[in-house]
């Protein structure tokens, strides 16, 4: 999964939670300042992103997400860790 498709899926999720057209969401949009989302909606986005990408992110990390870009980076970071873990597991066996 490349960065663009991750970003696009995240925008889809945000679009659903904020009931706006995902096409209108910029890459650096802030959930609160640009999209006017409240704390529950932020948490909802975190849960949906976590679920969509099967990340298993700890509670605290979800609450830190502030922008579209934060969410993309979280997914990338988790994917990177997962690949490294898989690689490590592969080496160990």
């Amino acid at each position: 999964m490349n960065v663009e498709s991750i970003r696009s899926e995240i925008k889809e999720i945000i679009g659903r939670v904020a009931s706006i057209d995902p096409g209108t969401i910029t890459d650096n949009a802030s959930f609160v300042d640009d999209l006017d989302l409240d704390s529950l909606s932020l948490l909802e986005i975190g849960v949906d992103v976590d679920y969509a990408f099967k990340l298993g992110v700890p509670e605290e990390r979800l609450q830190e997400l502030r922008t579209v870009q934060d969410s993309v980076e979280l997914v990338l970071e988790k994917f990177k860790n997962r690949t490294e873990n898989l690689a490590l597991a592969g080496e160990g066996s």
Partner: protein, 407 residues
């Protein structure tokens, strides 16, 4: 013509700290904690495990005319609390016109376990196993209905599901029913049963305390979902006097308001308006308030916002002098029962001139800098007690209980 005054003459309690007025009051004053790892279902998939569940409650003890096994758990608690309250008020069935007894109950979730059972079968595709009586067991109004059925009461029967402020809404409505002469006696209270829905929700919001429920402590990390029921017997002071019934306290007035701001995040402005309205209705000055039973859930936001709201109404100087405590530190957040149990606490504080502590309060929080009756109960003059409750939906309710002066 002066309006009738309304007295509390009976108290029934089903709580995580025990059953009945005497036991619960003693344990609250001694600072016991009824919070423990959840027993009623498996929390291994959660990152929190504490709950406040009712122990050793045998519904058979309280049901005489109806079948306790044919109703949900919140209804069982409610009937238990109602029977205890009637006994406590020394009201036997022959003493009253059953058509003039009203029942007003509050709840957050009604009988959520019935939805859970529905879902267990729905999700597994076993539709045929869904209880034919789902519709007779689940809707929250059955809680008040089952009380009236058990005791044969035919007066107004009102269910007020205003979430975690519902108990106070029930007190307020009971007060109005009696004042308007719509009933001779009102059983007013709240009931809720422990449920995976409630637990899952608060856990998902990150609102459940991992180790301790520590309202107003700097290191507080959340609330603890609980269950229980409380029922208070309300009647006019005149009626209580005529039948020689002891009066715990008199309801002075109430205030209700809505934040219209956010479903789950409280706004101190709404809470302050409810407190102010209650003081005005009861014609009580802020300086006359001897005790506040806080909503005090133990979440970082609630306790900070409630503190702000109290200061806004009372002013900094007076606010610092009023003892405030949260029994949720001991019995968790019993949802729709919470403010009904706390209404009993306010009545008992007035009657016994003692106030229960906030336990686990170790570290002062600069944003919660009032007198929270840390860890030890106090014996103080209690003329006026204010009961605060706040709910999802932005609903705020404050009720005033005061010493019943001899006429």
């Amino acid at each position: 013509m002066s309006r009738p005054r309304i007295a509390v003459t009976g108290i029934g309690l089903v709580t995580p700290l025990g059953l009945g007025r005497k036991t619960v009051w003693k344990r609250l004053l001694e600072g016991h904690c009824g919070i423990a790892p959840v027993r009623s279902y498996d929390t291994s998939r959660f990152n929190v495990h504490l709950g406040a569940e009712v122990e050793d409650f045998n519904p058979e003890t309280y049901f005489e005319n109806t079948d306790p096994n044919a109703v949900g758990q919140a209804s069982q608690f409610a009937v238990g609390a109602a029977r205890m309250a009637l006994t406590d008020a020394s009201i036997a069935s022959g003493d009253i016109d059953p058509g003039r007894v009203a029942v007003v109950m509050g709840t957050t979730s009604g009988e959520p376990r019935e939805v859970e059972r529905f879902n267990d079968h729905f999700v597994s595709g076993e539709h045929e196993k869904i209880d034919e009586n789902f519709i007779g067991l689940y809707p929250c109004h059955v809680i008040a209905g089952i009380i009236s059925e058990e005791f044969g009461f035919g007066g107004p029967n009102v269910m007020i599901p205003v979430a975690c402020a519902a108990g106070n809404y029930a007190m307020a409505h009971g007060f109005d029913l009696l004042r308007a002469g719509r009933a001779d006696v009102v059983l007013a209270g709240g009931a809720d049963s422990f449920s995976r829905i409630t637990y899952t929700g608060f856990a998902r919001l990150g609102a459940v305390a991992p180790e301790l429920c520590q309202p107003f402590d700097k290191n507080r990390r959340g609330m603890v979902p609980g269950e229980g029921a409380a029922v208070l017997v309300l009647e006019t002071v005149q009626r209580a006097r005529e039948r020689g019934a002891p009066i715990y306290a008199e309801i002075g007035g109430y205030g209700l308001s809505c934040d219209a701001h956010h479903m789950t995040a409280a706004d101190p402005d709404g809470a302050a308006r409810a407190m102010a309205m209650a003081l005005v209705m009861a014609r009580v000055l802020p300086t006359a308030v001897s005790y506040i039973s806080a909503h005090g859930t133990g979440t970082p936001t609630n306790d900070r916002q409630e503190t702000k709201a109290v200061k806004r109404v009372f002013g900094e100087r007076i606010a610092r002098r009023v003892p405030i405590s949260s029994i949720k530190s001991m019995i968790g957040h019993t949802m729709g029962a919470a403010s009904a149990i706390e209404a009993a606490v306010c009545s008992l504080a007035v009657a016994s001139q003692k106030v229960p502590p906030t336990i686990h309060l170790e570290t002062a929080d600069p944003e919660c800098d009032l007198d929270y009756v840390a860890n030890e109960a106090r014996e103080i003059p209690v003329e006026v007690a204010m009961n605060n409750a706040y709910a999802f939906g932005g609903n705020n309710a404050s009720v005033i209980f005061q010493k019943c002066q001899i006429q």
